[in-house]
């Protein structure tokens, strides 16, 4: 009952929007308003049909993209958490790196993608690098903020209870930082899909991004939308997985 109450409003809204889109597209009104040919403006039903017909092709390319996302996220997770702990423990490292890290966030990493393709070729490596670079920041910064948010009184209390620096980190600071790290992970996972597709756009021979470019060139608009649907579904599923893990791990909140 509570689940229904919670999910009913967004689902109803989604159904209404899809219904409006369906009517506007199938009557040709939307295409006319946009001054386009009918086949360039697919209806939700046509997208669903394309989703089913091209399921093998979509699944094959989705797996390529998902693998890039997961491996890139894995690299970002290891590097981000390691960086956060190192910067947290060393005042000097923090003072040196923190302003540069924040400033570097203004660099649109996505536009660096073509360079990475030149360097690493058409394989999985440039995609991994882009996903990892983009996911690194929310993970590292959130975790670092979390580690620093510990109540100084708790640290004092631990110091008088014989705790070493490592024990304070493991028993107090790390658990305090966990919810922050999970927030960062949710942002990172949502970004990972976009990053992987941009990586593929810069140069690839497979993946959902590659398929989108092909569909765009061949005016396969319905399948282009189908690829977007699959990509979003993967990102949503990953965010949901992270949220589920958070609920399992962070039981005290």
């Amino acid at each position: 009952m509570t689940a229904m109450k919670r999910w009913a409003p967004p689902l109803l809204l989604l159904a209404t929007l899809l219904g409006l889109w369906q009517v506007a597209a199938s009557t040709g009104w939307l295409a006319e308003a946009l001054h386009l040919e009918d086949f360039l403006v697919p209806s939700p039903a046509e997208i669903g049909e394309s989703l089913w017909q091209s399921r093998a092709l979509l699944a094959e390319n989705a797996w390529v993209t998902l693998r890039e996302m997961l491996l890139g996220l894995g690299c970002a997770l290891i590097a981000g958490l390691g960086f956060a702990v190192a910067l947290h423990l060393s005042e000097l490292l923090r003072r040196a790196f923190y302003p540069l890290i924040v400033a570097s966030q203004t660099i649109p990493i996505i536009v660096v993608a073509p360079i990475l393709v030149v360097w690493f070729g058409y394989g999985i490596w440039p995609k991994l690098a882009i996903v990892a670079l983009i996911c690194f920041f929310p993970l590292a910064l959130n975790t670092l903020d979390g580690l620093g948010s510990v109540d100084p009184e708790a640290t004092k209390m631990m110091r008088t209870l014989n705790a070493s620096r490592g024990q304070i980190l493991w028993r107090v600071e790390a658990p305090t930082a966990l919810p922050f790290a999970f927030s960062g992970a949710k942002i990172a996972v949502a970004f990972a899909a976009i990053a992987a597709v941009f990586g593929e756009w810069a140069g690839s021979d497979s993946g959902l991004g590659h398929l989108m470019l092909q569909d765009n060139a061949q005016l396969e608009t319905a399948r282009l939308f189908a690829a977007v649907v699959v990509l979003s579904a993967m990102a949503i599923a990953l965010v949901a997985l992270v949220a589920l893990a958070e609920r399992r791990v962070v039981t005290w909140r």
């Binding site: 109540d151 004092k156 209390m157 631990m158 110091r159 008088t160 209870l161 014989n162 705790a163 005290w252």
Partner: protein, 288 residues
């Protein structure tokens, strides 16, 4: 005060280098000074506390009594003067001899009550099961029986405070530094906890420094109460608590002698806050 059998057992179970053999640490403070930037919080401060004494520090808000407690506990380094706790002059040595209980219980929400209480043992490298066994042996006596696996959020305010005190006690340090331990509790729970603490200290004797803004609490719990002036803190007056300490708090605090001492402390507090203070050397304990 002679340690009871129970207290001796507690001390015998000690595995820390600082706790071995010693269940009390005298404090000697001479000419202590401390400042935050240009703000002199403590100036030319003198205080002697014998081992096993329970000393109360009362004073107006912001007079530096919490800073004094952190200095004693080894959490800060003094600017001037000498500070000796159980023979140790450096902050590391003081830290080894002192367990600190902050105003808020600060129980770690990701640990159960028993794991919170056992933190000091775990930090010392005791295995989880052995640490739980030792901490668990106190739960019944501390009125926490059956709540070993409870999350801190599931405990009442008084129970949380008892777990926090157990965590401090289990560290097995000769000196306990308590910073307004019951300030966050309601009046009834606070009175109960004061009575409970008096009994617990009687059975587990330690040198105790208790910072509080509650004169009655200080006089009831402590052998000696130092009334501090406004910043920079100095001892305005030193009073003695009732001895022997009555088990019944109500009987103790309504005793006419106690009331006289309390009013006197209140007067000193008010005078100390205004300015002209009586140097420590010129104060005397009240006639008993």
């Amino acid at each position: 005060m002679m340690p009871t059998t129970e207290a001796r057992d507690f001390a015998a179970g000690a595995t820390s280098p600082a706790g071995a053999g010693a269940i009390g640490a005298p404090i000697s403070i001479r000419g202590l000074g401390h400042s935050y930037g240009n703000l002199q919080t403590i100036e030319r401060f003198d205080l002697e506390v014998p081992a096993h004494a329970v000393l109360g520090l009362v004073g107006p808000s912001g007079c530096g009594k919490s800073t004094l407690l952190e200095l004693i506990a080894g959490l800060q380094e003094p600017g001037q003067g000498e500070l000796e706790v159980g023979g140790a002059r450096d902050s590391r040595g003081r830290l080894e001899r002192c367990a600190y209980m902050p105003q808020r219980d600060l129980l770690l929400p990701w640990l159960s009550a028993i794991d919170n209480a056992a933190l000091a043992l775990r930090n010392r490298g005791v295995s989880r099961s052995a640490a739980r066994r030792e901490a668990g042996s106190y739960f019944e006596r501390f009125g926490l029986g059956g709540f070993e696996r409870a999350a801190p959020a599931e405990l009442s305010g008084g129970m949380r405070q008892r777990v926090a005190f157990l965590r401090t006690l289990i560290a097995d340090k000769p000196l306990l530094a308590l910073d307004e331990p019951f300030a966050s509790l309601d009046a009834i729970t606070r009175a109960e906890m004061q009575e409970w603490l008096a009994q617990t200290l009687a059975s587990h004797p330690r040198t105790v420094v208790l910072v509080t803004h509650d004169v009655e609490e200080a006089l009831y719990l402590c052998d000696r109460v130092a009334v501090l002036s406004a910043r920079p803190a100095r001892v305005v007056e030193e009073l003695r608590g009732p001895a022997p300490r009555a088990a019944n708090r109500d009987a103790c605090v309504t005793d006419p002698k106690f009331v006289v001492a309390r009013e006197r402390a209140m007067r000193s507090l008010r005078e100390g806050r205004r300015g002209p203070f009586v140097p420590y050397s010129e104060t005397k304990a009240p006639e008993r």
